[in-house]
């Protein structure tokens, strides 16, 4: 990746629709994650085998993070947050596979992920407060803040998208530039740093999604949910 980071390569055409490389990579990652989960959860036992123990560790870890951050029962949020985290982590680390470029290094994939979070914020907010209560929550703390709250709900989605895109893309870009200057061994420390950045960005993305969702759900609704 040394050309424009905003352009994408078309792999093949499906009728009139051009299928680009990030789309192929995304479907590959989805297939690996879904297939792996299906294979691992096919024979669940009370006495876990070692793959099942690892899987339980991951699920429990994500649930613990959600409980700590949102201070609520993690069950309704874990499918979404856990999938987001695991998908972004796998996507960021997919650059380890030779010849593969992380799909999150292209702005369209990140836009789709941020849009999912945007819809999820509205969905959980409406479910917790009802549609009217959710709309009324934009007028908090007073009516004067409504325009600011509306703008904020757009800009924070946009910043979620630009943050993930900028971090992953800049990493891939720097590695590409170094690789074109010195081929052997020199890019390896940069790639190791890129693994750290990828993990941190996946963590940040899911933490911010949690923070936004728990802000939309609100304090009282969450406390009632935790009680019931």
């Amino acid at each position: 990746m040394i050309g424009s980071p905003l352009s994408i390569a078309t792999v093949f055409h499906l009728g009139p629709v051009p299928i680009t490389a990030p789309v192929v990579a995304t479907w590959g990652i989805m297939a690996v994650l879904a297939g792996g989960s299906w294979l691992l959860t096919r024979r669940l036992q009370l006495r876990p085998s070692s793959p099942q123990a690892v899987l339980e560790l991951v699920v429990e870890g994500i649930a613990g993070q959600i409980r700590d951050t949102m201070r609520a029962d993690p069950r309704p949020y874990e499918p979404l947050i856990g999938t987001l985290f695991l998908f972004i982590l796998t996507a960021n680390w997919s650059s380890l596979v030779p010849g593969m470029e992380p799909p999150t290094a292209h702005i369209e994939t990140d836009a789709a992920l941020a849009l999912i979070v945007f819809v999820a914020i509205a969905w959980f907010g409406m479910r917790a407060r009802g549609p009217v209560g959710w709309l009324a929550s934009f007028a908090e703390p007073n009516l004067l803040m409504t325009p600011l709250n509306l703008v904020e709900s757009i800009t924070r989605t946009f910043s979620l998208l630009v943050r993930l895109f900028g971090n992953v893309m800049s990493g891939v870009f720097v590695i590409g530039i170094v690789l074109s200057l010195v081929g052997l061994l020199v890019p390896v420390p940069l790639m190791a740093l890129e693994l750290l950045t990828g993990a941190v960005q996946a963590y940040i993305f899911s933490i911010l999604a949690m923070v936004f969702i728990s802000g939309a759900v609100g304090d009282t609704a969450r406390r009632d949910g935790a009680k019931s």
Partner: protein, 81 residues
């Protein structure tokens, strides 16, 4: 090479270089404050570290915005054909 291209390249370099100064200072202050807090209250280190990470990502976004503007100037400049 015409003036718009020269100005775009200069603008991109200036955006990244000056856009990195503010977030760097801010991140330094944030990390220093978190270190201070952890030294005073080591049992709260987990919560502090999590909040610090989220805060750092927020601050870092400012530098990333500058990077994206620079890339737009270099690769998707609407005034250069």
């Amino acid at each position: 090479m015409n003036w718009i291209e020269i100005a775009s390249i200069l603008g991109a370099a200036l955006a990244v270089s000056f856009g990195a100064v503010g977030p760097a200072l801010g991140e330094g202050r944030a990390v220093a404050a978190a270190m201070d807090a952890i030294a005073r209250q080591p049992e709260a280190a987990n919560t502090l570290a999590r909040t610090l990470f989220v805060g750092l990502a927020m601050i870092e976004t400012m530098a990333i915005y500058c990077l994206v503007i620079a890339l737009l100037l270099l690769f998707a400049n609407p005034f250069v054909r």
